[in-house]
């Protein structure tokens, strides 16, 4: 199992929207390399014919009726907003898709 490079950590940080500082990148790259080295042993079972467990309980089909429940008031919804305008969340300019 390969380790992890500083460049990979930088790429992952971008994917995860973390603006890491240079010294953090160095520091984390070393630590993550150790951790990944340790956790990579799970791949010993990669070839085993074992079903994966995504949920610890064997529950299925938990559903709710299509009935309206009270929403928050707009004031409650916006109560934690860093900025608001016209009863909407005000956010910095969005780049990308229209």
């Amino acid at each position: 199992m390969p380790g992890i490079t500083r460049e990979e950590v930088a790429h992952l940080a971008r994917l995860a929207r973390l603006e890491l500082k240079d010294e953090e990148l160095d520091h984390f790259a070393g630590q993550l390399d150790d951790i990944i080295g340790a956790v990579a042993r799970v791949s010993e079972v990669a070839d085993q014919d074992v079903p994966p467990t995504s949920h610890p309980l064997p529950l299925t089909n938990v559903m709710r009726a299509d009935e309206v429940r009270p929403s928050l008031t707009p004031e409650q919804a916006l109560s934690g907003a860093p900025a608001q305008e016209q009863q909407r969340f005000k956010v910095p300019q969005i780049l990308g898709e229209e």
Binding site: A16, V62, S79, A81
Partner: protein, 497 residues
């Protein structure tokens, strides 16, 4: 008044019900204790003096009206700062949520209020419950009341320390990899991780959704059971909530008994890395159980040796997704919004400033484990390990009714010792993690002090899913035997604060 803080929850409730004391008196005694010692312990992030007294007054008024009081009415409680509380700050130990006041109550918060439990405030924790020492709190560490230079365990160190420091007779924790049991073990208190799905997760800020479970923390097994009963039960707002009656945990706690019971000792939880004094106290516990009439069987769970590895893939993976919502758009911290930066940049700057190192490490690790090309080798394999561990448990529970082990390999370590050594820190949860992966129930309760450092050692009892009552039955028997042997509860040996 000083005696009020040493009472158990059951005793307090009885005295309030009989009119011997008022809920307000009890609450004031605990608020005074917090005032006196919490500067040193730092168990609380937020104390809600007014709210607590108002709740207490309501209980006293109920009593005055002759209304029947519930089994925990008027009993103070310390709530881990991971459950939302309408109108009361909820930080999850993170800068990113500093000052956030949720517009809604968690289901657990609602149930506590409905049970007339008095919520004293919110307790310190490792940021987003990631850690085993409470050192990862953005608001500074909590001290272990047994030795303030040592960690109180984590992530729920604040809750357990509050119990050990007599700041509250009851507390709530959450356990993703041991965050209720490990703090209980190192503070000489009781902590229970119920079966996954027994306690609603609605309003409990998610770390790792398939592992997280809220549960009771207390100083006695019976108190834990009373709290367990108050918070457990089906919740239609949580799709993973179990729709079945809660096991009779209080009845079990009142009838501790292990006679004729087959109890398994997990062979894999021993050896290198286990402190001698911890193993000594554990072996004594095995003897006590034998003397009490249990049959002790050695059990092997061969897949447990991969549990830690699987856990440190699954939990970071889920957390990388769960914590994506902290993006500076709708609530919480916003950094760098100077009118020129994009939303994308503001999100990245805010997350950089708002998350601590351990959270960032786990987000990156989880992002890695889920990324295309690595998914099968890491996340996929970890989920297979999960199946193998569940099968180990199933096989074990065909032979025995409960399993036992030390809760942690060592006693409380000094604050700072493992702070920047993640792998060393992760070892603290070696014995507790398999239970989270399989979803079954477990308890930690005190079994003595390690001779070499005089610090508490925890005994872990593990039961099958939905057999939480067995924990209490065995735990109550062990607790009674040890208390008789020591002549008093273990906590009495803790140095005065």
């Amino acid at each position: 008044m000083a005696d009020l803080i040493k009472l158990t929850a059951a005793e307090i409730a009885a005295k309030i019900a009989s009119g011997e004391v008022t809920a307000v008196e009890v609450t004031e005694a605990h608020l005074a204790r917090i005032e006196a010692v919490d500067e040193k312990v730092h168990a609380f992030l937020h104390v809600d003096r007014e709210g607590a007294l108002a709740q207490a007054r309501a209980v006293d008024e109920k009593k005055a009206r002759g209304e029947k009081l519930g089994p925990l009415a008027g009993v103070p409680l310390a709530l881990k700062d991971i459950f939302t509380t309408e109108g009361m700050p909820t930080t999850v130990g993170s800068k990113i949520l500093e000052g956030w006041i949720p517009p809604y109550d968690a289901t657990l918060t609602k149930r506590l209020k409905a049970a007339d439990v008095v919520i004293l405030g919110k307790t310190n924790m490792d940021e987003f419950a990631m850690g085993s020492s409470t050192e990862n709190s953005a608001y500074g560490p909590t001290g272990n009341p047994w030795d303030l230079t040592r960690i109180p365990g984590g992530s729920g160190g604040g809750s357990s320390a509050a119990l050990a420091a007599y700041e509250a007779p009851l507390a709530i924790g959450t356990d993703t990899g041991g965050s209720i049991r490990q703090p209980a073990a190192v503070t000489g208190t009781v902590g229970v991780k119920p079966t996954y799905g027994a306690v609603s997760r609605y309003g409990m800020v998610a770390f790792s959704s398939s592992l997280d479970q809220g549960g009771p923390c207390a100083r006695t097994v019976l108190d834990a059971a009373l709290l367990h009963e108050a918070i457990a039960g089906h919740d239609e707002l949580d799709s993973t909530s179990i729709d079945a009656p809660v096991p009779a945990v209080v009845e079990a706690a009142r009838n501790g008994d292990v006679r004729g019971m087959r109890i398994g000792v997990v062979k894999e939880f021993a050896g290198e890395g286990y402190q001698a004094g911890v193993m000594q106290r554990f072996n004594e516990s095995v003897e006590v159980l034998r003397e009490l009439g249990a049959e002790i069987v050695e059990i092997s769970c061969p897949s447990f040796d991969k549990a830690l590895a699987a856990y440190y893939l699954i939990a970071p993976s889920e957390c990388s997704s769960n914590l994506a919502r902290f993006d500076a758009m709708r609530y919480g911290l916003r950094v760098g919004d100077d009118g020129t930066k994009s939303a994308e940049d503001v999100t990245a700057l805010t997350r950089e400033a708002g998350f601590g190192d351990e959270v960032k490490r786990r987000i990156i690790l989880g992002t890695y484990a889920l990324s295309s090309g690595y998914y099968d080798a890491y996340y996929g394999s970890a989920q297979k390990v999960r199946t193998l561990i569940t099968r180990d448990f199933e096989k074990a529970f065909e032979q025995v009714e409960v399993l036992i082990s030390p809760t942690t390999p060592t006693t409380a370590f000094p604050i700072g010792e493992r702070a920047d050594d993640p792998m060393a820190m992760y070892l603290a949860d070696l014995c507790t993690i398999p239970t989270n992966l399989a979803g079954n129930a477990a308890m930690s309760l005190p079994c003595g002090l390690a001779p070499e450092d005089g610090l508490p050692v925890g005994l872990q009892i593990i039961a099958p899913a939905m057999a939480d009552d067995r924990l209490y039955k065995v735990g109550a028997a062990v607790e009674a035997a040890f208390t008789a042997r020591w002549g008093h509860p273990l906590l009495e040996e803790a140095p005065a604060l």
